[in-house]
Assembly symmetry: C2
Homo-oligomer: 308 residues x 2
């Protein structure tokens, strides 16, 4: 089993969906990645920053699940990053109501000594310079570096993004962002262009339409599980990334064939995440439930053609 | 091997895409269904209508591929149904430029005696009363009735549509139409409601995002093959339906497990259809190419989880 280092936000979210609304609850990409990876019992170190207003109980909950929070800096006189959003009826689009960067505005990630030898590194969606500085702190080149980013950094820091991409093995990105980054409409062509920027593996997330994994001419597709009800999509993408990287840390096999399994596990865990508000479902999730749903994913995708 | 009866249009299309434009070329749902089913060497009878302007060479081409066109009525003093459309740059949306119903306006399908015992019936997207009248002409209840329809009939002839749906085993419909027909946003809930209208099997086509097969609580997903270039999407949905029904006619196995294979073959053939204008690619398609692409579909979807 490899160590997993996850850099991302640990934050407060306030969410409104057609099913209800929450006050400030636990959120953040680092949190969701950590909770997903915890399903595989891997040693995950989260690097992030919170304010003095962040409840110790949340950190305790993460620690109880084996998530190392040594790298979560607490700025006692600062406030925790806060995001608030409202989902539309189709759950595929949302309005951001509030974004308060707070302590995140001056975030300088510090990788704890005990995670400087991590084999798998998951760089959550942050400024590319911040992502780069994490890689600079490691003892040696990790076995696998996974990077998540978004259109905001393509607009605001494209050169820095290209710089960090050269050091990245896997990029996770949504379909519109893949098109923006590559200038190609076809996702096949987009992946080919992104390969040339650095990442040998390109994961294009299509939300309810699943995710595509590209590896220099090879392709794999993992559907999202069709659900009767999507309660709250917040954190689904980060849970996917956490499931993907956690599975690879657990199995220590970064072949394309094993990455297929990793994206299936990512989709599997994401399908639970959306069943309740925030981290609620991921906190209660049992291994047996994940294994049962794996059977559903197999039934959903596996076939045996009899006719030659 | 079972006989396949396919009712639909045999028509002229004029198509404009970002890659070029055509004059009037061969098109129509019956044509695409027949060409797809021909890949399996099944006896397919097409029931349709054309005008005196329809080239005999097109009928000859279909006959050479084993498609029986006895049921294609020729109205000598009439003109063939003509559709013209222009695809937008993303190839996912299009504008209809011309729709001339011509002989289709008074179409009364007549099932040839030699196909009144067809085991598999594919009712193409026509008025529900026309679809119903085809079923009335058969000697006995077919083994499997597949129906394609669209939002136009939900708006214009909903009661008639509900009437024919009671006699149908499989409905193929796109995602927006499934939502309209059921009043449910979630496709899982939509399929459940449509089951109650008659069809035990519901296929929801999502274009480039693949197709879902539902069977009373069971689900299967076939992705569309990600392509570097979609040249002309015209006929892809009908080719999917033709591949689906042709495979079932060939294998004579209408279990859910075998329908999984049928939707994979439907996706497989549809991925060829879009590579050239109109029927061009389907006319030149070789069995070996279909088998090679089946391997690509397996690589795209099949996985083997090692970790319990």
């Amino acid at each position: 089993m490899s160590k997993l280092l996850a850099v991302g936000t640990v934050a407060f979210d306030a969410i409104e969906t057609p099913f209800g609304k929450t006050d400030k609850i636990l959120g953040g990409s680092g949190t969701f990645v950590g909770l997903a990876a915890a399903q595989f019992g891997v040693q995950t170190g989260v690097v992030s920053v919170v304010g003095g207003d962040f409840p110790q109980a949340y950190l305790d909950m993460m620690n109880q699940r084996g998530i190392n929070t040594e790298g979560v800096e607490i700025v006692e006189d600062g406030k925790t990053f806060f995001w608030s959003g409202k989902y539309h009826n189709d759950m595929n689009s949302r309005d951001t109501l509030v974004t308060e960067l707070n302590v995140l505005a001056d975030f300088t990630p510090i990788v704890p000594a005990s995670f400087k030898d991590s084999a798998i590194v998951m760089l959550g969606n942050l400024h590319p310079l911040t992502q780069n500085s994490v890689l600079d702190q490691l003892n040696e080149k990790p076995k696998l570096v996974i990077l998540d980013t978004m259109n905001f950094w393509m607009d605001a820091a494209l050169e820095d993004l290209h710089s960090v991409l050269k050091r990245v093995d896997v990029i996770t990105i949504n379909d519109e962002e893949a098109r923006q980054l590559s200038g190609e409409y076809s996702l096949v062509n987009a992946a080919n262009k992104i390969h040339k920027m650095g990442p040998k593996f390109v994961i294009i997330k299509k939300g309810e339409h699943g995710a595509l994994l590209f590896n220099e001419g090879k392709m794999f597709f993992a559907p999202a599980l069709p659900l009767a009800e999507v309660f709250d999509p917040t954190g689904a993408g980060d849970t996917f990334a956490g499931g993907f990287s956690g599975y690879l840390a657990k199995t220590e096999d970064i072949s394309f064939e094993n990455m297929k399994n990793a994206v299936i596990y990512g989709s599997n865990l994401a399908s639970f995440c959306v069943e309740k508000f925030g981290t609620e479902r991921m906190e209660s999730l049992q291994t047996s439930e994940v294994q049962d749903r794996l059977k559903v994913f197999k039934e959903l995708t596996q076939f045996e053609i009899k006719l030659a």
